[in-house]
Amino acid sequence: MSLLYVDRVMVRFGGVTAVDGVNLLARAGEVTGLIGPNGAGKTTLFNVISGMQEPTGGSVSLDSVDITDLPAHKRAQRGMARTFQRLELFGSLSVRDNIKVAAELAALTNVNAIVDEMIERVGITDIADRPAGDLPTGSARLVEIARALATRPKLLLLDEPASGLDESESERLGDLLRTLAATGLGVLLVEHDMGLVMKVCDVIYVLDLGQIIAHGTPNEIQHDPKVLEAYLGAS
């Protein structure tokens, strides 16, 4: 049963086709990877899925409901949350209040308990009362994840969550993603850290020049000649 279904999505900026007829499927309880060289269209595709970019063609469905025409906040209310490649924390609020805003937006009861749970879950207890604008990148990424999780989403979109993390943090992030998936959450992960991607993903899609050139298990992807060509430029 698919949680997210992206059907022939197309995005054109003037003469440039950033995303060119992409099909993608993400399941609940799985971590779906989306990789590709810089400029392949990953972030644009993310923006289409989360409602920040209107596609030129194609459709996006969540839980078998077509959400292509819904604004971003309505998609979030249907159980979608995302993080950003360039951090988008609420810099003037404390870390705790960042997460609290999210929990309140999801109209959850006992907000404070959920906030505490999220803080503990991603391991940011020691910075919980600092202003979010002062954090180094690594911690800020964790706060963004905690904030997204606080809306209790069905689908979590992560845009390069491991960039700026050191090795042990990155490893902890991998464990966290596996734990989350085990609870039934669907995760769509854009990431350049191949070690992490290969370790945590159940399925991987490879995007190059706006098109999906391969998809499959990590093992299949690692041996796909088209993927090697896209990444290494050799045939």
């Binding site: 995302r82 950003f84 003037s92 999210a102 937006l105 202003p131 963004e144």
Partner: protein, 758 residues
Amino acid sequence: MQQLLTFTIIGLSTGAIYAVVASGLVVTYTTSGIFNLAHGATGMLAAFTYWQLRFDWDVPAPIALFLTLFVLCPLFGALTERVVMRGLQGTTEVVRLSVTVALFAFMIGLANWVWPSDSSREAFLKFFEGNSVSIAGINVSWHRIITFGCAILVAIVLRLLLFRTRMGVAMRAVVDDRNLTELNGGRPDRVSMFAWALSATLAGLAGILLAGEQQLNIEPLVLLVINAYAAAIIGRLKNLPLTFLGAAVLGLLDSYYLAYSDESWFPQSAFGFSLAGIRAAIPTIVLFIALLTRPQSRLRAGIVRFREETRVPEWSTSILGAVSLVAVVVAISGMLTRSNTLLLLNGFTMAIVALSLVPLTGYAGQMSLAPLTFAGLGAIAMAKLPGDGNIATFVLAVVIVAVAGGIVALPALRLSGIYLALSTAAFAVLVTKLIFNQKQTFQSGNIAVPILKIPFVEIDSPRGRLILTATAFSLLGLLVVAVRRSRLGRRLIALKDSPAAAATLGMNLTRTKVAAFALSAGIGACAGALAGDKVSPQQYDFTQSLPVVLLAVVGGVGTVGGALFGGLLLGGNSVLASVVPSLKNVSKILPGTIGITLGRNPSGAATQTAEAFRVLKGRWNLLAVVGAGAFVIWALTAADVLSHWTFVVTGVVWFLAVAPNLPLVVDSSSARRATAVVYLAAGLVITAAIDWSTALDVTGQRLIAIVILVAVIGLGAQRIMESGPRVRADSPDVIGLDRDFSGEEIEHAERELRVVIR
């Protein structure tokens, strides 16, 4: 037919002036990203300068023109860029816009000062006054033909400049990507400077051409910029040909209205409202329509933001502050003369208006240039609703205006940043022209707002109204604090910090913005509904709103204290003007001058002052010293050793100059400590030794003396203490450190690292 042709020619020549102004606006906006609200004011100053040279000093026209347009205007523009605008890279849109508002206020003040209105001054003649040619049987003055020619010349020159010259290529490169241009060896700063110089010349040219038609008059010249906005917005702030087309349309509309509004078929009123004000409102209506047909602003991630005040106000300090504010006002209001009471009353009213901007601009980051408009609507509602000023009337008036604020904001919410700010400006001008200037709303030019009736309390004196308004400010301040601490407050801040993240977490941005606008309109309405006196419509004019916005931002629009500071400063400014006649002119340019320096301290003055006191927090022994000192000063006054004014001056110096420096003095280990102690003590003793009641005989002079004393004593002591290297507490380099390094530690580090830090 003859008439149509005549008015077409008139319309096109008016449009030509708009086109010249608008093109200057586009040039600076595209190269520096700053929308110059003061653009029309620049043209106004240029027109006055030209008049001075040409008609007062009888300099021949070509020389006067050359000096004004090609020497003084470019110099002024370049100087503005270098001194004021360059510091604004990377600040928020609110700060950037406020600085141009400041410039606007500064220039109007300057013109009022240098060229006070004087009916006997030489007339501003048209070019070749009296000469005209006949085109198709219609007399067209040479001035109009010259105006028309100038617009075409400007169009050609700009086209050639942008597409055929090196500077033009550089300008277009800066528009596309400022950083990339710099990396490629371009000089964006120099390009911006050139653009500002060019823009000032264009504004000057338009100002001189328009003054020929309409004589020297500050207001129409300054508001010329509104017409230009409309034209520039039609050109999407980028496209020059479209801008010229927009300008022509505006000119024609204005001219045709003039031609046909007296005809019998032309509607003279609608819904019982006279449409007499509509001519003046045409550009605004066009601006509004042009803004609303802009495509919806898209959610974008990755916008660099500037961090301002982050602290959540505590209930304990907020309530303490509110109670002491009312107590202080009750205590001193008995000593004030009637006129000073009215001025302070005005200050508190302005503080409430400034407060209305705190949730909207400070928290939610939405710029409004119309805060006083809602106060004006509140005053009208209070006066027109039945009940003659009882509490129910007041509540109803506030609710109506709040709802109206939300509804009015609705269409504008598709916009963001500068476009939203401009649409609020357009709204303010519309309301001014169509509602405030109605004979129905303001009989005999005034509207009598009843005094709020509170059970068991009779308010009939200015003093009573002052206490009422101060109390209202305190209560509304607490309301704003409550909002900041609530779910709504967190949402407003989230909206400011990252609309993209807020939306993707499920926030309905439109609903949140409407809430912010309604709240702001409601608070603003309180200021008007509490007027309790006859008020004139000019009080709530768009141009009056600008200084309020400015001083709210100067005071610190993110905090209640900032609103109070800004409002009182605006009131205090008129105190200066009324009691120190010689300072009257200085006070005209004061708000502008303060605002121009805003780029250096975007969080506002109140935040900075609060920062100074925060060092005392939790240091009970020092707080005890501060309290003991205050008691001694009070005791000396009670024993008649100190006069009343000496009490005030010494008290302020003690609290504002000495107290914040105490921790610094106590903590310092250097030999300079003794010097600082002696300096502070000497300053305090000298202050207390002077009998300020007799030394200066006007309140304004004493106020100035207080400001100077605080600055000299407080900052002087800080200068003395500042020997070691200081780090900003919020610098990421020092996260985790809870204090500055001491001298020994630095020396130790230097020895270990074999480097010299200081």
